[in-house]
């Protein structure tokens, strides 16, 4: 059971890592003008919800399996995702808005965020891996 939970979160975590990398690549593409702001934003906005769900899934998994430490580690990120998703102004086209992404350093802050998330997911990845191995051994 324990092992199953961690295997699942490991898969989830891998997906999130890939997503973060995808975000970073797309944003840097935009930064150096390989793609259009419009295309970039519509690409990224598509993946905002999956990311949110993926993170929430990991958090919930930890909650139900009662791994409090990992749950508390995941909670802030999950709530940040949710907060950002809810806080999008009505007129905007999503978290990434092509008309604003070049203004007020938004591009840079998006990038920063994606980097931090990548780091976080990598950390989680190893934690899950360790826990999974531990669980498998204990079994």
């Amino acid at each position: 059971m324990e092992a199953a939970v961690f295997i699942l979160s490991l898969i989830d975590c891998c997906a999130l890592i890939f997503l973060s990398v995808y975000f970073i690549i797309t944003l840097s593409d935009l930064e150096c003008d390989y793609i259009n702001a419009r295309a970039c934003c519509s690409k990224l906005n598509k993946w905002v919800l999956p990311e949110l769900v993926g993170q929430a899934l990991a958090t919930v998994l930890m909650l139900v399996s009662m791994h409090w430490f990992i749950f508390l580690l995941n909670l802030p990120v999950a709530s940040w995702n949710l907060y950002r998703y809810i806080k999008v102004p009505m007129g905007n086209m999503g978290i990434f808005d092509p008309t604003e992404i070049h203004n007020r350093g938004q591009l840079k802050s998006h990038m920063k965020e994606a980097m931090i998330k990548l780091g976080f997911h990598l950390l989680c990845f190893f934690i899950y891996l360790y826990s999974m191995i531990l669980a498998l051994i204990n079994d």
Binding site: C32, D33, H102, G105, S109, K112
Partner: protein
């Protein structure tokens, strides 16, 4: 709370954090910080925006050039350490090229000697040390390139010879476009001018120049030989001759006739020995007077009128400040000569014998120096003036008597003269701080305000096969680049050394070879290029206009349709365009109506599409028709349109579907969509609900719903922008129509927004007049299609925020589906890398557009500013008007993204922070009062005025749409207009005096003093005129003299002045005449005809008049004095 915190944090992030990405930031500004590392990324933009760049040169560019540069710069800087000090008196002594030069030609104390022996090449080769510091290199050769004399040289001949009908167009003889633009004749004529002026050398100039064309490239280094000399000769002479005339070609002031003598008396005697100088002078005078007599009108589009206020303004303002405090009173013509004399005096007296100075004139390096020295004279005074502490609490009359002049960048005279006009390009800090830390210390925003497509009457247009640009950053060659030698120039933005193409060596104006520094591109900071097909993604589009008209019941009620049709009928022939111009009409209520205007029909055919959920175009081919072919049908339609809907009962409005239809109609070509809307859209996609709560209009807590309610209009605008369609919105609504949402369609498609609240053809006559005037201007003004604008800045600076109506397509590229002469832009910048190794920062805005005649053109503006390392210098160079406008833009962003109270706090903090920074960092002492540097003395006043604007005020009842519209105006208007809105001009007009009056072609325009905006200045005995940009108020006091009321207003007494008077009657007496000339003068100086309201002591107009008196207390806002006290209190916290 402060605006700057944002900028600061961004900057920290920039390059170091993400070297991988940073290095790939492609071209233009983005590339600036990373320098030459451009190659890898430029493959990318090619796909996205091939329009902008000629493929070959750009992408194939090798990155290796950059590294090589760093080597030469190291030794150079060690040899000449002085170059980092800004105003180098010592530089003069130390720098080797100059001394070397003077040694080489020691005997040339006189002009004649210089002419014979020293070819123009020589300074180049001596000046060769390739310094990385732009200072150094620029100091060397710039004055040479851009001595004002050349400026005159270009315009003089042209204007004299070319006749009234073209821009001065410069082209190569080889260029095919030549014939088209009458170039050949003009350059021939200029040649004649030259020879006439030369007197002694008529034959040699005209014959040797062409012959040397071929000869020169073979051995340019063999400098001192006959042929080169003869080539250089005319140039030098021209230079000399035209110098006095230099500043005037625009102004048409003839007072320079005496200029040469007073200007440079010592130079003439020596030159007499070689040439007959009288004939010279005659040449000068004739050419300059020729230019003043027939200034070249802007015929490219004969539509645009207007004066060219720039050069006089810049001249006067630029020349004036350093030479005393009384500058506003000086006439431009008067300032001219003292200015140039002063510049040269220090060098006479201080360092060298007069002869040396003379000698230096024709040489780049020397004239450079003298200019640098001239700069010093001005510097101290300028700084003193800018930094003079002003105790705000004690200074009651803080306004200058006349219009507030833009501050003068602290540059050498030569650079200053060639610098971009302050109306086109303005920076908030005319002294650029060296590092971000210094900028943060000053607590002032750094940004640019641009008005790139302004109507100009003088604009050098250049046709050439190759447009010379930097290979790394794609900067266009400009007056601030430095020529290392004849074959190479160094980019002033990225410091790459580029080759001068062979074609560029030939100067079509003087018809001489080997003078790349004298070409018009290098002589003018505002030029226009005719672009080749490299700059096209597709064939230039025709002018296409689509009118989308609301014909619901509400719209018909207002009666706008009549006026629109009338106005369009009148201006149908004046619509900018050529034979390919196409027009179309769509009307909508709850259904959408198309009009088939295909040539051959007997009358227009109306096609109704009632399926608004899935709009389709009934007949794709015949809805947008060629205006020329179908003119009769169009006229027919316009005549019948108002009557067709008079009895409509349809109250719904399906704006969204109509816009979708418009998009579909226009997407094959692109063009302009003009939308006339009179109510909230209620049907189909993009329908909106009323969000305004009238009870909250005067709430002090904050204002909701400043942002759009739906992303429909934004998406539509982006689609439109992608297809080169701009949507202009005319909102004529008396009720709430959610402008915040609707405005998005124009904001992101580079359109314009017009708002006429409570428009009605009978009940609101003044607004009706304004609508008519606006429409006329709108329909006939110049227009550019499928445009992009790129703003580049010196390496180390980068742009992080943009303000205006456009879509930001990449880090420095603005996509403008249409560009019009009335829109302004603003950008905020940060300093990513220290600018310590340069003394000049440059900014270049390049606007690539398709003219209404189907020509692809590039308008390039370049601004050059000094870099400083002292906090005091930063304060001394603050441009308070530009700062105010930029802060207004930032505050509006803040209000929309965060909240209104946040924005207001940030504005107050901006004042508090910068004044605190001044107190702590510069003034040193702790005075009792509230002190500000003179450059910032109007800062609190302007910020207070901003806080009382409709856009940002709280506590006073403001309709949401009014507020949003005011915000849109701030974001998209040029600086001058914003400043009039923020701080209107108030004059007393019942007692005009002759003092200081302007004399403009035989009418006298009185120049009354500017008054503080406070009721204290109003008296019952007077009449006052307030100029708020788009509105003029004439306030007539209760006991105003009967004479004024009778003679000017045409009424027997005060009580009989009608309520809604909006015009001054045409009365035949001097009083009235003077008033009318004054009014006309005010009105003509702007593109929009402002409405005049005559305000008596009653009714509603009085309230709006008094609202503009920003220094007075209102029930919800501080008076000026209270505001100062508030600031003082905040500062002492």
């Amino acid at each position: 709370m402060s605006f700057y915190e944002l900028g600061g944090s961004d900057i920290g992030m920039s390059a170091p954090g993400y070297p991988g990405f940073g290095s790939s930031v492609g071209h233009g500004v983005g590339s600036a910080p990373q320098g030459g590392v451009a190659a890898p990324l430029q493959a990318g933009p090619g796909q996205t925006y091939p329009t902008t760049y000629p493929a070959a040169g750009y992408y194939s560019n090798p990155p290796q050039s950059y590294p090589t540069m760093s080597n030469p710069c190291a030794p150079a800087s060690s040899k000449a350490p002085v170059m980092n000090s800004q105003y180098h008196p010592s530089y003069y002594h130390n720098s080797h090229p100059h001394t070397a030069h003077s040694n080489a030609v020691p005997g040339h104390a006189n002009y004649g000697g210089a002419l014979v022996q020293a070819p123009p090449l020589q300074p180049y080769s001596t000046a060769a040390p390739p310094t990385s510091a732009a200072v150094h290199a620029n100091q060397h050769s710039q004055p040479f390139q851009q001595h004002p004399g050349y400026l005159g040289a270009y315009y003089g001949p042209y204007t004299a010879s070319q006749g009234p009908s073209h821009y001065p167009v410069v082209s190569y003889p080889s260029a095919a476009g030549g014939g088209q633009y009458n170039m050949q004749p003009s350059s021939q004529a200029s040649l004649q001018q030259v020879s006439r002026g030369n007197g002694t050398l008529p034959a040699s100039t005209s014959t040797t120049a062409p012959s040397s064309y071929g000869a020169l490239p073979a051995g340019p280094s063999v400098a001192v030989n006959g042929q080169v000399n003869t080539v250089s000769l005319p140039a030098l002479q021209r230079y000399d001759q035209n110098r006095p005339a230099s500043a005037h070609p625009y102004t048409g002031v003839q007072s320079d006739a005496g200029g040469p003598a007073s200007d440079r008396p010592p130079s003439l005697p020596p030159s007499t020995s070689v040439h007959s100088s009288p004939s010279h002078r005659q040449g000068v005078d004739s050419s300059s007077s020729g230019s003043s007599a027939s200034p070249v009108p802007n015929n490219y589009d004969s539509l645009e009128g207007g004066s060219y206020p720039v050069p006089p303004a810049t001249d006067s303002s630029k020349a004036a400040p350093p030479f005393g405090f009384g500058y506003p009173n000086l006439q431009p013509a008067y300032q001219q000569s003292p200015a140039s004399r002063n510049d040269s005096t220090p060098s006479y007296s201080g360092f060298n014998p007069p002869g040396y100075q003379q000698f230096s004139q024709p040489f780049p390096t020397m004239s450079q120096l003298s200019a640098a020295l001239g700069g010093i004279g001005g510097v101290s005074e300028l700084e003193v003036e800018g930094l003079r502490p002003v105790n705000l609490l004690q200074e009651r009359n803080i306004l200058p008597p006349g219009p507030v002049p833009p501050p003068e960048p602290n540059l050498s005279t030569d650079l200053r003269k060639v610098n971009c006009s302050s109306d086109t390009f303005r920076c908030t800090l005319t002294n650029i701080p060296q590092t971000q830390a210094l900028l943060n210390k000053a607590k002032l925003p750094l940004g640019l305000l641009l008005h790139p497509f302004r109507d100009l009457t003088q604009l050098p247009v250049i046709t050439s096969n190759t447009i010379v640009r930097c290979r790394t950053c794609r900067t266009y060659i400009n007056p601030f680049v430095s020529f290392l030698d004849q074959k190479r120039w160094k980019c002033n933005l990225c410091y790459r050394v580029n080759d001068v193409p062979d074609e560029f060596m030939y100067n079509p104006v003087t018809r001489s070879y080997g003078e790349p520094h004298k070409r018009p591109e290098v002589q003018n900071s505002t030029v226009e290029f005719i672009a080749s097909s490299d700059y096209m993604l597709r064939p230039p589009q025709p002018a296409v206009y689509l009118f989308v008209l609301d014909v619901s019941h509400n719209a018909v009620e207002t009666g706008y349709l009549n006026i629109f049709c009338q106005s369009l009928l009148e201006n149908l022939d004046k619509l900018p365009g050529d034979t390919r111009t196409r027009v179309g009409f769509v009307t909508f209520d709850s259904t959408i109506h198309f009009y088939n205007l295909q040539d051959g029909l007997s009358q227009p055919q109306m096609l109704v599409v009632s399926d608004i959920d899935d709009v389709f175009i009934p007949t794709p081919d015949s809805l947008m028709v060629n205006l020329k072919e179908s003119k009769e049908l169009v006229k027919d339609l316009l005549n019948t349109l108002p009557a067709m809907f008079t009895h409509t009962r349809e109250t719904h409005s399906a704006l969204g579907p109509a816009l979708q239809a418009a998009y579909k109609l226009m997407s094959p070509t692109g063009g302009r969509v003009s939308v006339f809307q009179t109510q909230l859209p209620t049907l189909g996609a993009g329908l909106l609900q009323s969000r305004e709560d009238p009870n909250q209009r005067s709430s002090t807590k904050g204002v909701q719903h400043l942002g759009p309610a739906t992303d429909f209009y934004k998406k539509l605008a982006l689609d439109c922008s992608g297809q080169q369609i701009a949507v202009d919105l005319f909102l004529l609504s008396s009720q709430y129509s959610d402008l915040a949402s609707l405005a998005c369609m124009s904001k992101y498609s580079a359109g314009s927004i017009y708002y006429y609240p409570a428009f009605h053809r009978i009940h609101n006559l003044p607004l009706l007049g304004k609508f008519q005037k606006d429409l006329q201007r709108y329909l006939t003004r110049k227009i550019g299609f499928e445009a992009v604008m790129r703003i580049r800045c010196t390496k180390g600076l980068s742009i992080h925020t943009f303000h205006g109506n456009f879509f930001v397509r990449s880090t420095d590229l603005l996509s403008l589906a249409n560009v019009n002469p009335d829109s302004g832009f603003a950008v905020q910048m940060s300093i990513d890398e220290s600018l310590a190794d340069t003394s000049l920062a440059c900014f270049q805005a390049a606007l690539l557009y398709t003219s209404s005649k189907g020509k692809r053109r590039i308008r390039v503006h370049t601004l050059c500013l000094p870099v400083v390392s002292q906090l005091s210098d930063v304060f001394a160079g603050a441009d308070i008007q530009a700062i105010t406008c930029l802060l207004a833009n930032m505050a509006i962003d803040r209000a929309i993204s965060s909240s209104l109270s946040d924005a207001r706090d940030a504005l107050v903090n901006a004042v508090v922070d910068s004044l605190t920074a001044y107190r702590n960092g510069v003034s040193g002492l702790q005075p009792a009062g509230l002190t500000a540097p003179a450059a910032l003395r109007l800062f609190p006043l302007y910020v207070l005025a901003l806080l009382k604007q409709k856009a940002l005020r709280t506590g006073t009842s403001t309709r949401l749409d009014d507020r949003v519209f005011a915000m849109c105006e701030f974001k998209s208007q040029p600086l001058r207009h914003i400043m009039r809105m923020v701080h209107p001009d108030l004059f007393r007009v019942d007692n005009f005096s002759e003092q200081g009056a302007l004399h403009l072609n035989n009418c006298v325009v009185p120049q009354p003093q500017l008054l503080q905006l406070t009721a204290e200045k109003l008296t019952r005995e007077g009449a006052f005129l307030m100029d708020c940009g788009s509105v003029l108020y004439l306030w007539v006091g209760k006991s105003c003299s009967e004479l004024f009321i009778r003679d000017v207003l045409g009424c027997p007494n005060h009580t009989s002045i009608p309520q809604n008077m909006t015009q001054i009657p045409d009365l035949d007496n001097p009083y009235s005449e003077r008033m009318r000339t004054f009014l006309n003068w005010l009105q003509e100086s702007r593109p929009f005809w402002p409405v005049l309201y005559v305000v008596k002591d009653d009714a509603s107009a009085k309230i709006s008049f008094f609202q503009h008196l920003v220094e007075d207390r209102t029930e919800s806002a501080f008076s000026y004095y209270e505001f100062l006290l508030h600031i003082q209190q905040q500062m002492s916290k």
